[in-house]
């Protein structure tokens, strides 16, 4: 285990962002490395007598082996279902008795454990003690694994009958092919998973040197240091390095039409998008707000819903990950008009790429994103979410402070340039589940 000198760096940021006439204090993020090697981000706030803590690792689904897809997700789930000296019921009731909530994220990149608890000492200590055991002494009981595999398989089979999940899976495969971002639990792969697989995954992915601890709420700095140490000091040691292959940014154009009895077609169109640390991140984010991210005022919403009433929901987004995540446009519309809606989506996208947004649209986007900035950081829950992301993706601690300035600087030309470099309308994947019958395979 890498033991670093205690408290290597202490960086505190208290800044004001004064843009568009709106001043708002961003949270003061403290940062250090704990003795265990874990990276810690902390915001001290005593407004509410509660505490949120999360610990994240590079242990998401993209770290699965191809023939054992599902190990990452089951590992994370089983960590909370039995630890040294506590059964799954002891863990659940131990948390419930004090009104604490055990949770955690799981995605393509990250897996983590989180807790929300009252900050009153004895309650907090009990919640954090259980959390520490979940992180550091999971036992992965054989019978619990068998049961959870059965439940997972049942859910996978059920998902195979539902148009939304069918389209999402087909779409991810079409975009990523054999890249680990395309890995998803399958009935066959889950069936093969053993306790040894889980233990091995845990040992090589849940390591202190790779942990990102985020702490938000009603504790002192001194206590926060102790908490971070207690949650990570006994994590398994491993020198294993895990890195992702690069995503192939150019994909072949494809269109899958999948039969389904639903009344609506589920349509997805997209390509590999951008990474969290992409040089074009802000430009693409602002551009996408105009294209399909800005709720009611986006171009896709205007064309598809407001002008023609073709869908209830239509959107586009970039999923920013370690490697480029999905750029996805989606909508549902009744079968008979699916082809009309798809043409309209394609036309809206290619117009946007060809001509870019107007100055007026860009100004409206900036007004919303900058003016709405305080809504991004107005709760402990939102702030700890940012701490986790800043820590995991190595974003600058000034990420929140810099955000509005970066948005302010985006130009129409940059948006058009970035979209035309990234998104080639001739090389996108399209999936239509519940496709119009005459054209169905």
């Amino acid at each position: 285990m890498a033991i670093k000198s205690k408290i290597m760096t202490v960086i505190s940021v208290a800044a004001l962002c004064c843009t568009a006439g709106i001043a708002c204090a961003t949270p003061k993020i403290q940062h250090w490395q704990s003795e265990s090697g874990a990276k810690v981000l902390f915001v001290e706030d005593h407004n509410i007598p509660m505490l949120d803590v999360s610990v994240n690792f590079a242990a998401g689904s993209s770290f699965d082996a191809v023939d054992k897809a599902g190990v990452a997700s089951l590992t994370r789930r089983l960590m909370a279902l039995g630890v040294t000296g506590m059964s799954e019921d002891d863990i659940a009731s131990g948390m419930a008795d004090i009104g604490a909530v055990l949770g955690g994220d799981f995605g393509q990149d990250m897996a983590g454990v989180s807790v929300r608890t009252l900050s009153q000492a004895e309650v907090r200590d009990q919640a954090l003690d259980i959390m520490a055991r979940v992180l550091q002494t999971p036992v992965f009981p054989e019978d619990v694994l068998a049961r959870e595999k059965t439940r997972t398989i049942a859910a996978l089979k059920d998902a195979e009958t539902k148009p939304g999940p069918i389209s999402n899976r087909a779409f991810r495969k079409a975009i990523y092919g054999d890249h680990p971002y395309g890995l998803m639990s399958e009935v066959d792969s889950v069936e093969k998973i053993t306790v040894a697989d889980i233990q091995d995954f845990y040992r090589t992915h849940y390591n202190s040197g790779k942990a990102v601890v985020a702490i938000m709420g009603d504790v002192s700095r001194q206590l926060a240091e102790q908490i971070a140490e207690n949650l990570t000091a006994k994590l398994p040691a491993s020198d294993a390095m895990h890195s992702l292959p690069e995503v192939a940014m150019q994909i072949a154009s494809s269109e899958q039409r999948i039969k389904h009895p639903a009344t609506q077609s589920h349509i997805l169109v997209g390509a590999p998008g951008m990474s969290r640390t992409d040089a074009d991140y802000t430009v693409l984010y602002v551009g996408n707000y105009i294209l399909g991210g800005g709720g009611f005022v986006s171009r896709l919403m205007e064309e598809v819903r407001e002008q023609r009433g073709l869908a209830y929901s239509v959107y586009s987004y970039f999923m920013p990950l370690k490697q480029p995540g999905l750029f996805q446009i989606g909508l549902q519309t009744k079968k008979e008009q699916a082809d009309e809606a798809l043409l309209l989506v394609r036309k809206t996208l290619s117009d946007f790429i060809e001509h870019g947004p107007t100055e007026k649209e860009l100004q409206a986007a900036k007004d919303n994103i900058i003016g709405g900035f305080p809504l991004r950081i107005n709760s402990n829950r939102k702030i700890i979410g940012y701490l986790g992301v800043i820590g995991y993706y190595d974003l600058p601690l000034t990420y929140l402070d810099d955000f509005t300035d970066k948005v302010e600087k985006v130009t129409v030309e940059q948006i058009q340039d970035a979209f035309s470099r990234r998104i080639n309308p001739e090389a996108m994947a399209t999936v239509i589940v519940g496709a119009p019958e005459e054209a169905t395979q």
Binding site: G21, I22, A23, C24, N47, I48, M50, D89, I91, A92, S93, M95, A96, D97, I98, G99, A100, L102, T117, L118, T150, R151, I153, A154, A155, D158, P163, K259, H260, P261, A262, T263, Q264, G294, G295, F296, V297, E306, G309, L310, A311, Y312, S313, Q332, K334, A364, N368, I369, I370, G371, G372, F373, P374, L375, I377, N378, S379, N380, R381, G434
Partner: protein
């Protein structure tokens, strides 16, 4: 945007409010009640306007009109063209939305505190000056039909719930889905929307809730300025109240839809809170729902998912507060190889255990601890706090009942929990709904052992 809230509570009902210290209230001369919840953590404000009119106020033949009108509220007024409302809120950095339930319709914006006057001006404008045109209506009703297809028609669980509600209630309007029957959506006209708007969108049928980094007195002055000039056209908005006839025995129904797994709902008719001061049964039922499904160690998960492994998931829920009748609802999905009959028997066994042996003090204490903690966690969401106030007002309890309800929940005894289980979880109150999964066409469904609904 513009979504529907179903009157379903599959988890521990509504958590109740503790700290109401900074809540201020005033009623304008036109009857609009204004409630302000100060919260100075961040320089933001939320505005919510709640109309006491929801799907339960609709009539047969025009179901869905409350929700369609909610969509039409974004389609412009004499002064603000269609689409402009959203554009102006967006330009102010705001987020907005609206929702319709069986009991109420509400609209909200969240923005920087300096933008509250803009939000009030726009919201007040569309309370009175909505421009309803046949052209916009025709487009928007198509959007709503797509919404119905997405939420209900293509969603087996929603279909099952919709069919169950239509079976549970014979007379009460809760038998109709909030989004409306498709055939009614086909038949609705802009004239129906106009009738609805003119009847219900009155200041004395609404509650304005403002939360955030504001000063209550300043908010009252702003409210008077923007909403004050709107005259109420009637002394009091009148409405028909329904009393559902007694249930005379168990009801059963089956819904066939494309799915892999069967599912079962068991819905028991249960009382609704009438008097938060004097009632005790609704509180005991809330705790009962918590004992069954309030946390990961609650009975249904512990006994049925983990120990017996007869279900892959199971839940229970009860909502004590509503304008109409309530249900105590169980839902479960059988494990592979188990059928819904076995699951129903297992759920009944859990009920028998409650009726015969009651709950223990430890379980009771656990649920109460969760309620207490939930009250603190709630302070992290300004929006949710405002939402609770709006709900309580719209359902007729008043937001001042919130701290009282919290006290009452803490006072529930184990005997009371056992007593309500005995009184309400019995067959004469019960409707059982079963999802019979159908194979996707062209893909034969493999036979599975133990399936009672083989194909």
């Amino acid at each position: 945007m513009r979504f529907i809230l179903f009157y379903i509570a599959l988890f521990l009902g509504c958590a109740f409010n503790a700290a109401n210290a900074e809540v201020f209230e005033r009623t304008l001369s036109n009857g609009l009640k204004v409630i302000v919840k100060e919260d100075h953590r961040a320089p933001v404000v939320v505005q919510q306007i709640w109309y006491k009119a929801g799907a339960m106020d609709e009539s047969t033949g025009t179901t869905g009109i409350a929700h369609v009108l909610e969509h039409m509220m974004f389609k412009g007024t004499e002064d603000v063209p269609a689409g402009e409302f959203s554009k102006r809120i967006a330009a102010a950095g705001g987020r907005e939305n609206a929702f319709t339930s069986s009991d109420y319709t509400a609209y909200f914006q969240q923005l920087h505190k300096s933008k509250l006057p803009l939000a009030m001006e726009l919201e007040a404008d569309r309370m009175r000056n909505l421009n309803l045109t046949a052209e916009e209506f025709a487009k928007e009703v198509n959007v709503v039909k797509e919404e119905r297809r997405m939420r209900t028609d293509d969603n087996p669980q929603s279909l099952m719930y919709e069919t169950m509600m239509a079976t549970v209630y014979q007379q009460h309007p809760y038998q109709h889905p909030v989004i409306g029957w498709m055939n009614d959506l086909e038949a609705l006209t802009v004239a129906d929307a106009k009738i609805w708007y003119d009847k219900w969108y009155e200041p004395n049928n609404a509650t304005l809730v403002i939360g955030g980094d504001v000063d209550a007195e300043e908010v009252f002055a702003l409210a008077k300025k923007y909403y004050g000039p709107i005259k109420s056209r009637v002394q009091e908005v009148t409405r028909r109240e329904y009393t559902e006839p007694s249930q005379l025995g168990i009801k059963r129904l089956v819904v066939k839809a494309p799915a892999e797994l069967p599912q079962i709902f068991m819905a028991y008719r249960a009382p609704t809170m009438q008097d938060p001061e004097k009632d005790w049964k609704p509180y005991a039922l809330e705790i009962l729902a918590g004992v069954l499904d309030g946390n990961a160690s609650a009975r249904l998960n512990k006994h049925l998912v983990r120990e017996q492994q007869i279900v892959s998931s199971a839940g229970a829920g009860y909502d004590s507060t509503s304008r109409g009748p309530s249900l105590f609802l169980f839902d479960a999905t059988p494990s592979e190889g188990k059928n819904v009959e076995e699951v129903e028997a297992a759920l009944r066994q859990e009920i028998a255990l409650l009726v015969n042996e009651g709950v223990n003090e430890k379980e009771l204490k656990r649920i109460k601890a969760q309620v207490t903690a939930g009250e603190v966690y709630k302070l992290d969401s300004l929006f949710y706090q405002a939402m609770q106030v709006g709900q309580m007002e719209s359902m007729g309890y008043g937001h001042r009942a919130l701290p009282l309800m919290l006290e009452k929940l803490q006072a529930v005894t184990a005997e009371q929990v056992q007593q309500v289980a005995k009184e309400f979880l019995k067959d004469d109150n019960l409707t059982v709904a079963v999802l019979d999964p159908q194979p996707l066409s062209g893909k034969p469904k493999p036979q599975r052992k133990g399936m009672s609904h083989g194909h």
